[in-house]
Symmetry: C2
Subunit: 377 residues, 2 copies
């Protein structure tokens, strides 16, 4: 199988991730606890060390809490439902947001969700129009994904958030497709909260995500349960991360993420994906009948390529690539509800999406190009 | 290490669990999807097969939905916060409930939580008094754990729920410490919902739990996010399990649970723990200064033993057992907020808790007894 569904989850993972998980499983997959027995202390240390590596990766200060959740989806539920909303609050979202944000905001009542404006030709955020909208309808919060999981577009999050901060808005970055692939520097991007997924561009396993509370903003508790501490208290304990971390830690997944972070090389991954992405786009653009949804400026794009083929439903392209060429891609709307009205891909029932990883070779891409060439002939 | 903290999480797991997880990691740890490429279809099949094994384990009909969550805590949040409560609704809980239930109910406003009455000498549920309370204050819902995670007491859930059903109450069983160890038969126990944890008596890994919706009662959505289907819909899709399952499936954890279920032998585990439990209780009862919190009727108790030692804080006992004898136990209040007022263990700061598993030997228990004998000498 040539696996090109890396935007859904990166596969495979680096060997130390597998080994780290198996070792954790066999040696210390117990309930962590600092004041407890040695295996539990070991688990607690791995958790602490992993928090530290995450903090370091985004250049956050040591006081920034790294909260672990079973997934970035759960993390974003905690963040979004944890904000003290008031009636008629206005929230801005980029039109590239994922349903982890879009559906979660939609589940709240009394707030108004406004999409950031985009240029309908380049599909880029229109910063000037955004400034106008902010001035007209003051943002209470702004949610912005860093890299679109549909098109690979790198959003201008520095500009979006610095403008949002003029209105004291809460700024939340979704780094699911960026952390580990491009620089995510909390000193440069004015995000109060950075949500992260373990299993995508970080090359960790399923079962671990979270958020970095850069500004340590206080959130209401969303999920409740045991914390192993303060057990007689019917409220979640108030202390920093514990408040948002009910239930046993998934130490096996955290151990996998720890190994992934230890061997992560952001620059190497970027350079590798830069080459593969550009090569793929160049070649796709040369195939008649293929429409790519890629920004004109190549530096605003990385890793993910969405396209449609004239005369084909995207699902059918996916099926043919799987069955005839053993190439795994994802097709459809990719859990991104807003953007497709701009891409105008509904007659294709969404796009064919390629996601590359550090483990893909140029040969993989050549094989894909060849297959699509045959398919469109 | 002699590991006796199995009530927190069973450790180790059967070898096929480790192997199944590693294999899933290396072969098909991708985003599942029925209409997708082959590895994704394989992941989807493992998920379906695991649901089937869970359903079979509780003798549920094929129409009962098995919903997967990252943990039983998340599952119970979905269940409890998903019920359509009305003002002044009355909820009964056993005094043995875990904070996944206690704190979650406490986070709701407008409902009244009443503890089921217990006999203060035997620590058993007082069914007659319970009947009186139900008649006086009609239950909207009744939550009952099957086996106490503090004392190992097997609660009379059949009686509790059959009485609750006379009032059409919603009945929710917490099977975290029972499923896989004793019979949990949905034909005999009138539970609308059975919540389960993968990583305890089922011997699966962290990262997977859920609930079996025996009566297929409709719950409001608690967590929102991508489902890989119906992506343009800003609400969660209505279909059965999908509604409650946002985010990518943790296929590695599910593969582990699948292997655990395949090699699970409830009767063998029960018989093994029966012997170890009785042996441990007999011996602890003979040690001067040790108070065990065990029901008189041994058949109402299995697997978990809580005790205190005169003159010792329980944490100190745990520390000594770890440092001097390499025995891992759990001490404190065990995330169970209600029961300790009956156990009257506050001067000890909670109990010392032993949890045995299929992997413990009589030698392990002998070593523990010897250690406690030395400690109390």
């Amino acid at each position: 199988m040539i696996y090109l569904d890396n935007a859904a989850t990166t596969f495979p993972k680096p060997e130390p991730v597998y080994e780290g998980m198996d070792k954790a499983n066999r040696k210390y997959a117990v309930n962590s606890g600092r004041g407890s027995y040695k295996a539990a202390q070991k688990a607690a240390k791995v958790i602490d060390d992993t928090r530290m590596l995450i903090r370091k990766l985004v250049a956050a200060d040591v006081i920034a809490d790294v909260v672990f959740s079973p997934s970035i989806t759960v993390a974003l539920n905690q963040v979004i439902k944890g904000i003290s909303w008031e009636n008629n609050d206005i929230v801005y979202v980029s039109p590239y947001e994922h349903n982890a944000i879009a559906r979660t905001l939609n589940s709240l009542s009394g707030i108004r969700v406004i999409e950031l404006p985009i240029n309908k030709k380049t599909f880029e955020i229109d910063i000037e129009k955004m400034k106008y909208l902010f001035a007209k309808d003051r943002p209470k919060a702004v949610f912005c994904t860093h890299i679109s999981n549909v098109t690979g577009y790198i959003l201008p999050v520095e500009k979006v958030f610095s403008e949002a901060k003029k209105y004291d808005a809460i700024t939340v970055l979704d780094s699911a497709q960026s952390l580990g692939l491009i620089e995510v520097n909390s000193k440069k991007i004015d995000a109060d909260i950075i949500a992260f997924a373990g299993h995508k561009t970080l090359y960790g396993p399923f079962g671990i995500g979270g958020f970095i509370n850069i500004s340590n903003i206080s959130l209401n508790v969303v999920l409740t349960g045991g914390t192993g501490t303060d057990s007689l208290n019917l409220d979640m304990p108030e202390q920093n991360t514990t408040k948002y971390e009910p239930s046993s830690f998934n130490i096996v997944a955290i151990a996998g993420l720890y190994e992934a972070l230890k061997c992560l090389d952001v620059n190497r991954n970027y350079q590798h994906e830069r080459i593969l992405t550009d090569y793929l786009v160049d070649n796709l653009n040369n195939i008649k009948g293929v429409t790519c949804f890629v920004p004109l400026d190549r530096n605003k794009h990385i890793g993910i390529i969405s396209f449609v083929i004239n005369g084909y439903k995207s699902d059918d392209v996916g099926m043919i690539l799987d069955e005839d060429y053993d190439i795994a891609v994802r097709t459809g709307y990719h859990c991104a509800p807003y953007i497709h009205k701009y891409l105008d891909d509904k007659e294709y029932l969404g796009t064919v999406r390629i996601g590359v990883s550090q483990f893909n070779s140029k040969e993989d891409i050549k094989h894909l190009i060849k297959s699509i060439n045959e398919l469109t002939r």
